[in-house]
């Protein structure tokens, strides 16, 4: 396919990789935090809630800078991790981390809402039938919140595909390593004659976004038919 130049294709592939990793890796903690916020009472609950939502309200540049301070090679978390060989700063892994953090509030919100919609009396019924808490979660709660998880994951994925401010602040704009779709569009717009490339990438963005939306629509309909039974 000659529609995209190798450089443009590199940005698209990188973005897909970053967004996929960001979404997949934030799902387990996302479900856990959503469950904790929806069902448990514990000290510091509001603090956790605030922390989760912070990236939504802070300017992305601030989030990116805070990530750089924390996860940079000399940061309090980044330094020990770097000794283990896990480096975030100026790597595509850092782009994935930034995307995950920025998408996390959207993910948690959607899943939390769906957990709150699950009737706890169904979970009680499963308990009386001999299912431990973990089994209840796996066989009753999880299947019932699947539409919410899917919606949250799509939102997080879309956010990750479009994340710009935090990414460019945290991991810069290195071709092939951290130059994701939005960064590439931005970079192409900075050089003379780059508009054509930028436009092609914009078209790709639109297609990916539409495809994700359609996919989620189809999947959620299937799940709704299975869960609702009607």
């Amino acid at each position: 396919m000659q529609f995209l130049s190798p450089e443009e294709w590199q940005a698209v592939a990188l973005s897909l990789r970053v967004a996929l990793w960001a979404t997949v890796l934030s799902l387990p903690p996302g479900i856990f935090v959503a469950f904790a916020l929806a069902r448990w009472e514990f000290p510091g609950k509001q603090l956790l809630n605030g922390l989760v939502h912070l990236p939504l309200i802070l300017p992305p540049v601030v989030t990116g800078y805070l990530l750089l301070l924390t996860f940079g090679t000399r940061g309090p978390v980044g330094a020990p991790l770097a000794e283990l060989g896990i480096v975030f700063a100026f790597r595509w892994t850092g782009a994935a981390l930034a995307a995950a953090i920025m998408g996390f509030p959207l993910l948690v919100r959607a899943i939390r809402l769906s957990i709150e919609a699950v009737d706890p009396r169904l979970e009680q019924a499963a308990g009386t039938l001999g299912a431990s808490r973990l089994w209840v979660f796996g066989t009753v709660t999880l299947p019932l919140i699947l539409p919410g998880i899917l919606a949250g994951a799509i939102l997080a994925f879309a956010k990750a595909m479009g994340e710009f401010g935090a990414t460019i602040t945290f991991v810069s704009n290195i071709p092939g390593e951290t130059r994701t779709l939005p960064s590439a569009i931005y970079a192409f717009l900075q050089v003379p004659g780059g508009e054509a490339s930028a436009l092609r990438l914009v078209a790709v963005s639109v297609v990916i976004a539409m495809a994700a939306l359609l996919l989620s629509e189809v999947l959620s309909r299937r799940i709704a038919a299975r869960v609702g039974g009607a």
Binding site: A125, T128, L129, G130, G229
Partner: protein
Amino acid sequence: MSLSVDIRHRLGDFSLDAQFEAPQGVSVLFGRSGSGKSTIVNAVAGLLRPDAGRIALGDVPLFDADKRLHVPLHRRRLGYIFQDARLFPHLTVRQNLAYGRFFAPKAESGASFDHVTEMLGLGHLLSRRPATLSGGERQRTAIGRALLAKPRLLLADEPLAALDAERKAEILPYFERLRDEADVPILYVSHAPSEVARLATSVIAIRNGRVVRQGPASVILSDPAVTPLGPRAAGAMIETTLLNQHPDGLSELQAGALRLLVPRVDRPAGAPVRVHIEAQDVMIALTRPEGISALNVLPVIVRGIRMGNGPGALVQLDANGALLLARITRRSVGALGLAEGMQVHAVLKAVSVSRQSVEGTA
């Protein structure tokens, strides 16, 4: 295996202090809504942790406040049939039925899947989802699901209360079969006298969080001092056998020397039949009335009288060992000069015994 309960619990202004033993068969917790019946059942199930006391099933303790023992919900092995069925919407009827079986010990014997689906008439529903079932079908599935978990005790919290009269009539016979065929004790919560009369082996009358009386259904229901729902809903239950069918659509029942004519009961001669006779349907006459349309005129002895606060009174009558209740006015008690030990006649119209009041006609 019997269930023994001795618990105390406070919930705001309400205090529960209940002690009872539920033997094999159906034990009905009988009382008004708000009397604490559901609290007791939830404590037995493990959904609620009482403040004090102990609960044991046979010699297996489920809860003991002194020993800080509270067996968690999922380890109690009790089948709980909820008022609102609570089927899993994302599973088929078959998967719902199999759910509890999956967690039950494999080695233990229990009712077989085929037997339960056959008994509850679920065979043609197995691939359906709960959303497409009628209320009665849902409740039948819920009963099967609880039964297939190989429970050591079945709990049923007003399982018929959410259903209309027709559905109730559909489900009640299944509980009767459960009582007679399944080898599992049942703790059944109800505030419907007709359900109690039809199902109960033993009745535990609850009022304001206390156990008022406990005993066989025929004794408790005919006791004018108990009536947990108030005198208006009072009625006795008599255990009879079907003597014969009359060609004009009536059935003759027998309990000792007592003969009773009721609308046709579709059962073979010799079958056991329980009859619920509401106190307000029974009249009292000093002498045997002549030229009266009522078919049942029974010689009885007055065993007890309870004067109400209003104009009514409840009179307990002994018909050759079968106990009846009559609700009449205090004025009539005075006018007839009723007193304990008097020989009178109880008058009961055959048609006032409704079909729902007779076991086995649904």
